[in-house]
């Protein structure tokens, strides 16, 4: 059976130079990220170039995705949270397009590498900490002190709140990365079953079964690709809400 990990391999395209002992290489991952940014930029520029009252197909698509993210931000971070709308919208579109690129056969899934998703999660948590400290100063640490808790329980609750805050970037990045990695490996394994069954003589009549399952799994993976981008955007706005209103 073909190795299902092979699809996540980074392939160097050309070398850019070196810093110390580390080589700077332009990889297929970087190429896909640039392509995703190009798609998003071209889509939004062309869609909004001629803003008409009755939107065309492209304009309707751009307006719908904007409204969708705006509603998400508004419902979890309030009207004040709309100042982070550009950040959340960029993150949502970037992850969505990269996830969908991964569903193209022979495509490369950038979000299946934890260093990429962790960098995205670090941007979100960094924004929360920096903005929270800038806006509220030391009141930001009120986030870790729940109100209405008896004094003898308070040290334990503060410890739990700190642990839950520190584990946020980890769970945010691992959720996206694990979903993409496990989904694509499962697809490859079921596709491998088809190839193995076809060489099995009489039992090759069973080969359409894993093939049908592969088709169903592909549909599920497209759903997961969109859902994970939505979940990332929702959790980002929930965490940003903490920076805006740190009191419990």
């Amino acid at each position: 059976m073909a190795d299902p990990i092979h699809q996540f391999e980074l392939k160097p395209i050309f070398k850019l130079g070196r810093i110390g002992n580390t080589e700077l290489v332009f990889t297929n991952s970087a190429l896909y990220m640039l392509a995703a940014v190009a798609v998003i930029v071209l889509l939004t520029i062309f869609a909004t170039r001629r803003g008409s009252l009755v939107p065309g197909r492209l304009q309707a698509m751009a307006e719908m995705s904007y409204e969708f993210v705006a509603n998400t931000v508004r419902s979890s971070a309030g009207e004040e949270g709309m100042r982070f709308m550009p950040l959340v919208f960029s993150l949502f579109m970037f992850i969505l397009i990269l996830n969908l690129f991964g569903m193209v056969p022979y495509g490369f899934t950038v979000t299946s590498h934890i260093i990429i998703t962790f960098a995205l999660a670090a941007v979100v948590i960094g924004t929360v900490i920096v903005y929270g400290l800038m806006k509220h100063g030391t009141h930001f640490f009120g986030l870790f002190v729940p109100s209405g808790v008896p004094a003898w329980l308070l040290p334990l609750m503060v410890a739990i709140e700190v642990i839950s805050f520190v584990s946020r970037p980890i769970s945010l990045s691992v959720r996206l990365f694990a979903n993409m990695l496990a989904g694509h490996i499962a697809l490859k394994i079921f596709a491998g079953f088809v190839a193995t069954l076809l060489t099995a003589g009489f039992w090759s009549i069973l080969a359409p079964l894993p093939l049908a399952l592969t088709v169903a799994l592909t549909a599920l993976e497209v759903l997961v690709a969109v859902l994970q981008a939505y979940v990332f955007a929702t959790l980002t706005s929930i965490y940003l809400n903490d920076a805006l209103h740190p009191g419990h």
Binding site: R175, A178, N179, L181, I185, V231
Partner: protein, 75 residues
Amino acid sequence: MDPVAAKYIGAGLACLGMAGAGIGLGNLFGQFLSGSLRNPSAAEGQRGTLLLGFALTEALGIFSLLIALLLLFAV
């Protein structure tokens, strides 16, 4: 124990964690269905919450599947 055998046993044990995700997803959709049959007019507005809960629950099952796959192919 033979390390290769231990690897495969570990991968099988790691998959047991997906039982929890199965229970959670069944609970999630069952509760949504019972709620939406009682009040069908309110169900449409909660579809986003349902999908969010689906993705968050599903992720925990995926974590244990990830451990199994890493044991099988990466270790």
